[in-house]
Symmetry: C2
Subunit: 606 residues, 2 copies
């Protein structure tokens, strides 16, 4: 099916939007009237520009408050439509979206609405134009797809059909099942948007919080299946009003949009992709280090019981290990501050994974490598982190020469539990979709919490078996001048089966205030002999609704933005202890203030 | 009355918050539990720190989900409370806030709730502590102040009283009138927050969108009057959960908070301020210019028909005039780009205005001046703009030596219609309150609109007679890397009584696309002979619901961020043509792209 995008989905003036849509590979656009109105190009010039970019103009929208009005208003409305038909003719587009009226003048009279729409369709047909009637979820009289369909069917005009918009359908509690039974050919257009479940005015929800498919909570594959069953073969077109996308780089947003559509087509069974990779676990995590941050991270890893076990054959790259925990320090990549430059996950078939990634428009690479080196496939995530896909059946460590040191058991760390990455403000939803669609990491809960320097949002993704877990965080509002937290922190969490024993062997633990333990005792009704070892070791605690428990501690920040976390999960605890994140943030700040380790005050604490 | 602020109102760790509250002159704080929990200071240390800063701890909050529970849970809850009483004792605070339960376990049984609260109060009284019971607007069984009062009255315990929170009261459709009849002494605490009217889940509304008094839509003076009538003489305490304030500089937020409380006390008749000044009009507007931007602005002013009529006696300051439009170019102040450094309004009694400003914690100044110069009082607005208060009975132009040029009639500009200032993201609501409370400019409508590079919010303020008008704008989200618009634009709008005649004499008009006029004709059903002159002159058009009309045009951007607007208001049009702002923004961008005038791509287009 053809892929289309409404110009309202992305930021910029029309030129920015068209360029972005074409570069992302869309076949067509919906032209949102405001984008035309503010454009210095005439409709004919826009038509030529679109043609030059290989874009068709699939829809002109929106035409509002047309039907069910008094006779004199109807005449004015028909004249208004005629002006728009002139524009559409010059644009070379043949379908106009008419939204159900929100006007207080509109009468609740289906026969009248059908009659008026029929007159409009007649006038349109004379110009070779079709009318796609859409029920706005907040329409005054018509607010559901089935009501709109009854009116269209009653009108019985060949130039009048339906526009189905997934938001308007799925935001209401009306089943979309009957869509499959719509007369073939009467669905003229399909607009797709996802959204999170929000309890708010539906108009505000629609205008500010729509998302691309796969980024929200709607069952879009199910809807597509119904629409397909009706015989629809027009474009699938994204129409997403989103406050963040409206002010983000349109080129990136358009690629995110395209990825969402390709992933949706896969899920709906329209165009299957190579299957998502089976991820077996975290292979390693790579830090970019320099002369300043390298020594700090080495000291931190030694303090955690890691050994420097390998040196890369050809590159200034060190391998540090403890049991199945593996960290790589790379002096050949540059990032500001010690930063996670790459994560590596082990998979059965890196090449298939790479094909899927490429199909999903992810930046994919195969690393340059020497004759004796393992070839590494990678994709670049929205925050710039490289994700290496190592082959589960090959040991990537063959690239490293042994230093003679053995990994040993160190402090009892077992493996990488999860990796925590602060996301760039504009790309949080893009990142969720990226990891979900490209790597097949399912989305777990999204949490919001109040941190000392502002509200935060946290979204976890993981494989079904929890072999690989990621925790993505972002500030709810882009941070400004007052942002005294750690700038865009990143962390690796390692697992242990005995947090107290590990804590006793790790000297560099973040000090946790006594007040935290007093509150913990009250909150969970914990006895003193449970609280006391936690307090002594600076171990934090969380308990879920099923009695699962998390015990965890943190290290100070290294190199400006990196810290480590040690976790012990008990009884199937499946979250990330977000409730304790504010304690960590305040403690990191306190440590910085008291030790005088100045950190540049950049935006974006998490 | 004592003034208090909840620590949750401002950003930072506890130290930041206490320092900010004390510096802003608050008498006390409400200690929000999370701020204590993450603090490295013990309760005794916090008590000492507060005492050192002259702050009392007026309330410990919140204690949740206490009442109406099964017997075993009640025992656990009482033990939990006992732990909190330990903390409160060490803090030296004697009032604990208990919110009505949201737990599904809580029974809807007023007698049971009263009995439980009575037991809690007994336990509290033994420690010298009082319980202030508050109805959360989303409480499971108790969600209104009068319901909470019935329970408190039924309990009849001297250590049990009410906490009244303006948000929980005014967000519900329950009249606050009966509050005056509450038994004297039974209101233990009063929390104040304002909020805009929003149609959304009340919990989300409360947690994200509260504002300081005078920044929202609630009738807080009316509520205060009721509370006063009951004999309440405890602190008035601000409790504002706001996404922006949570991440903004706490020192500034605390001053904004204090200003809101002082202004509220004035409006409620508790502590009258010197009256708001009577503003007679815009006296002049001052631009900071340098060697680069000065020539650009001079050329622009000449193009608009201004004459350089005066030169300051002692400073590098030029006066430019046309009728009552007056612009001052000041080479002695520095701002990035040609920027409005000061606005000046004419008033009957600048000294009284200054006294009011000082009482409202506004940064106020009296300009240094030479022996023959007029003394100028000024206050600094939240965005750094100085607001001069000129004396209506004295001509401030006496400071200028005549150049011999006469103001003449130029291009028909009559006076300053309004000034448009982009506000810093963190200080938009602060700015509204500042102009409202300090200068007595009433708030007109707040509009939100979709602009090419993101959503915008615009708020107008004006005197009753419209002698002085300001239009403040801000991006709905702080802009990031993709922000190709004019960075933080500012403009002056001058009025004319014949826009076509003025346009014909002003060569430097911003070109408006033909598409705009085609849409305008359709939208307002305007005949060709009305549209044609508009199109020819690049004049934009708006019409309000009462038939009032705005005709206006813009100039290009000068010095990177300044443009001029010429407006003709007809038939009582009282808005600002915000609907045309996106057209202006796109046209400014197009001009910049086509003329190659590179502008630094900073954040914050409007």
């Amino acid at each position: 099916m053809r892929r289309s995008i409404a110009t309202v989905c992305v930021s910029g003036t029309l030129d920015d939007k068209l360029t972005a849509a074409a570069a992302a590979g869309f076949d067509g656009i919906e032209l949102f009237e405001n984008d035309l109105v503010v454009s210095p190009w005439s409709p004919a010039e826009i038509r030529a520009r679109c043609a030059g970019l290989g874009l068709s103009i699939d829809l002109y929208q929106p035409f509002r408050d047309f039907e069910g009005v008094p006779a004199d208003v109807l005449e004015l409305n028909l004249r208004r439509a005629a002006r728009k038909f002139d524009v559409m003719e010059a644009l070379g587009t043949d379908t106009m979206l008419v939204c159900s009226s929100v006007s207080p003048d509109a009468r609740d009279d289906d026969a009248l609405a059908a009659e008026h729409l029929s007159r409009l369709a007649t006038q349109a047909a004379e110009r070779g134009i079709r009318i796609a009637y859409e029920a706005l979820a907040w329409g005054r009289n018509v607010s559901t797809w089935d009501h709109a369909w009854r009116i269209v069917r009653a009108a019985g005009h060949p130039a009048l059909g339906l526009c189905l918009d997934s938001f308007h359908i799925l935001s209401r509690e009306v089943s979309p099942d009957g869509i499959a039974d719509i007369t073939p050919g009467k669905i003229f257009f399909v607009q797709l948007a996802d959204a999170p479940h929000l309890r708010m005015d539906v108009l505000q929800w629609s205008r500010h919080h729509r998302l691309f498919p796969g980024q929200g909570a709607f069952d879009l594959p199910g809807l597509i299946t119904n629409i397909q069953a009706s015989g629809y073969d027009g474009p699938l077109s994204l129409e997403v009003f989103n406050d963040v996308f409206r002010q983000a780089d349109p080129a990136r947003t358009a690629v995110d949009a395209m990825r969402s559509l390709i992933a949706l087509e896969d899920r709906a069974g329209l165009h299957p992709l190579p299957p998502a990779p089976t991820l077996r676990g975290h292979a390693f995590t790579e830090f970019a280090v320099d002369g300043g941050t390298g020594p700090q991270l080495r000291e931190a890893l030694r303090g955690l019981g890691f050994a420097h076990t390998g040196q890369h054959r050809t590159k200034p790259v060190e391998l540090w290990e403890q049991s199945a925990c593996r960290v790589v320090l790379n002096s050949a990549v540059t990032r500001p501050g010690a930063a996670i430059s790459a994560i590596a996950v082990s998979t059965d078939d890196p090449e298939a994974a790479l094909r899927r990634a490429v199909a999903l428009r992810a930046p994919a690479h195969v690393s340059a490598h020497g004759p004796r080196e393992v070839s590494l496939a990678s994709v670049t995530a929205p925050d710039g982190t490289d994700v290496f896909l190592t082959d589960h059946s090959t040991d990537w460590r063959a690239d490293f020469l042994s230093t003679g040191d053995s990994p040993g058991i160190g402090t009892g760390l077992l493996s990488t539990d999860h990796i925590g990455l602060t996301q760039p403000f504009d790309h949080f939803d893009e990142a969720g979709l990226f990891y979900d669609s490209v790597l097949g990491l399912g989305r777990l809960a999204t949490e919001e919490f109040a941190a000392p320097f502002g509200l935060m949002r946290s979204r976890a993704l993981a494989t079904t078996g929890r072999e690989v877990r990621l925790a993505l965080t972002v500030a709810l509002l882009r941070r400004g001048e007052w942002a005294p937290g750690v700038p865009e922190p990143q962390h690796i969490a390692f697992s242990t089966s005995d947090i107290m024993a590990t804590a006793a062997r790790v000297p560099q633990r973040l000090a946790i205030p006594d007040n935290y333990y007093a509150d913990l005792a009250a909150r969970f009704a914990l006895p003193d002999d449970t609280i006391e070892p936690l307090r002594r070791h600076g171990v934090l605690y969380d308990r879920d609704a099923h009695g699962g428990e998390l015990l965890h501690f943190y290290t100070p920040v290294h190199g400006g933005r990196v810290f480590f976390e040690i976790v012990e999960r008990r009884g199937g605890y499946d979250a990330f202890g977000e409730t304790n994140a504010p304690v960590r943030m305040a403690a990191h700040r306190h440590l910085r203030l008291t030790t005088g380790r100045a950190t540049p005050q950049l935006a974006g604490d998490a």
